[in-house]
């Protein structure tokens, strides 16, 4: 769904997004710019276009984390943990569906361990769980994954910091202006209000929009629960009559 350069996007509200410099999240201290961002008064084709993944060939199990680490071994190769459907809709700020866009996720296993060379947490890896998924939204903006619920994990920030259970979510949207990487949290997790990464957001309503809701209507009885997580990308508007003399 790439756009041509006649499309502009609603300005990003950077007071709603997290603060870049958030000293309670210690890594942000040395990794946040001190200078003001430079606003491009006139976005160009460079900002208003982006890759369209509608024709990117995905694998059969790319959105099924229960099967995609060992596809074809369903009988004896399932991951341990709470089986979940995580689904939702990608819309823009005008509630228009964002169709054909790439949604990617990654996460720890049920014990909070990532399958990454650099994760040395003592909770074990799950031999049947990789933790990566991707899909492309359908014509109405819907996406869907099947996975297990990730566990919380400790991290070296304060002496006793633990991340809430979360799934990292990446969305392209129609241009690089709408590019977004965020994290999905789970309704009712008492670690959410304790987390300094969550608290890079000033507005509790912003945290609320990152909190996926238990969705019993979408659960599969005797199989898996479901959580719903809708994603809103910047609103696309057409520019008319620009530069007419």
């Amino acid at each position: 769904m790439a756009q041509n350069d006649r499309t502009a996007f609603v300005m990003r509200d950077r007071s709603w997004h997290p603060r870049p410099y958030a000293p309670a999240y210690k890594t942000s201290v040395a990794r946040s710019p001190q200078q003001a961002l430079v606003s491009l008064q006139t976005p160009t084709a460079s900002e208003l276009t982006g890759p369209d993944f509608d024709h990117f060939a995905l694998g059969l199990y790319d959105n099924d984390l229960l099967l995609n680490f060992r596809p074809g071994t369903e009988q004896d190769g399932l991951p341990i943990g709470e089986r979940l459907i995580v689904y939702g809709r990608v819309v823009d700020q005008y509630n228009k569906p964002v169709a054909g866009t790439l949604v990617e996720i990654w996460q720890a296993n049920a014990g909070g361990r990532y399958r990454h060379k650099k994760d040395a947490y003592r909770a074990p890896l799950d031999p049947n769980f990789g933790g990566v998924g991707r899909t492309i939204t359908d014509a109405d903006g819907w996406y869907r994954f099947r996975t297990i619920k990730p566990g919380p994990y400790p991290w070296p920030n304060d002496v006793n910091s633990w991340r809430p259970a979360h799934i990292h979510v990446s969305v392209m949207g129609p241009s690089i202006s709408t590019r977004l990487v965020t994290q999905l949290y789970f309704e009712g997790d008492p670690l959410i209000p304790l987390c300094p990464i969550v608290h890079t957001l000033d507005d509790p309503d912003a945290v609320d929009t990152l909190t996926a809701r238990l969705d019993m209507a979408a659960a599969r009885p005797m199989d898996c629960l479901a959580y719903r997580f809708d994603i809103v990308t910047r609103g696309a508007l057409q520019t008319y009559f620009e530069n007419q003399s």
Binding site: A2, R12, D13, R14, W16, H17, P18, A22, K26, T27, S28, V29, R31, P33, Q34, Q35, L37, V38, S39, L40, T42, T44, S46, E47, T49, G50, P51, D54, A57, L58, D62, Q93, Y94, N95, W106, A108, H116, K117, K118, G130, G131, V132, H168, V171, I176, R179, V181, T182, Q183, D205, D208, T209, L210, D215, Y227, F229, D230, T233, G235, N243
Partner: protein, 217 residues
């Protein structure tokens, strides 16, 4: 999950960003995490010289093959070895090829991250982009749009890479009207002559002296 409340302009608020964290690679750069790549991955080869030589892709990979090597430095002067960089660029004619297909010679979009033995250096293999028109009608100097994601970066950073051997075009690029003159050189990559194909080195400083210009748009 209901949609959030509309804001004062009647719009739904954009989903807020969060850091990509230390393990972004398992999702977006599988080889760096030590995972087996899937059949098709978005990688650091934006243009494939091989496909071009074989005449595949109907010339979409045409242009001057180049390598970009980059490092990202934090406010302490330390290299950010867990950075993930995304690149978006026009083809050799200055046209954005928006239909991403992994099997094409030129893809326009790529991702790169330093591996465990790379000392924080990342690279991109691509072709030098052509000039894209600014809405005011003037051509912009050749550039690659870069997005930076990492642990400690709460909302990704947008910057542009320009080329030091395009001095004249750079000086005339309308984009630079928005950038304070003293900071413009933070956007310039430097050509190196060794190696089979031209290589440009780009240092991004997240914070402090000679901090790279980052954009809002």
């Amino acid at each position: 999950m209901p949609l959030p409340t509309r804001n004062s302009q009647g719009l739904y608020p954009e989903t807020p960003s969060q850091t990509a964290g230390p393990f972004v690679h398992i999702g977006l750069a599988l080889d760096v995490a030590g995972l087996t790549p899937r059949e098709q991955e978005i990688g650091s080869n934006i243009a494939s010289a091989e496909a071009e030589a074989e005449g595949e892709g109907e010339g979409e990979g045409e242009g001057e093959p180049i390598e970009i090597v980059g490092t990202v430095i934090d406010g302490n002067g330390d290299t950010v070895d867990d950075i993930l960089v995304e690149a978006w660029q026009a083809d050799a004619h200055g046209v954005y090829q928006t239909d991403y297909r992994a099997d094409r010679a030129f893809r326009g979009f790529g991702r790169t991250a330093p591996g465990a033995n790379d000392a924080g250096v990342w690279s991109l293999h691509t072709i030098k982009p052509g000039r894209v028109a600014h809405p005011n009608g003037q051509p912009m100097a050749p550039h690659i749009n870069l997005m930076l994601f990492a642990r400690g970066i709460n909302i990704h950073l947008h910057t542009r890479l320009y080329f030091d051997d395009e001095h004249e075009a750079n000086m005339a690029c309308p984009l630079f009207d928005a950038v304070p003159p003293s900071r413009r050189d933070t956007l310039i990559a430097h050509r190196e002559q060794d190696g089979a194909k031209p290589r440009y080195r780009f240092v991004i400083r997240l914070q402090g002296p000679r901090e790279t210009v980052f954009f809002d748009f």
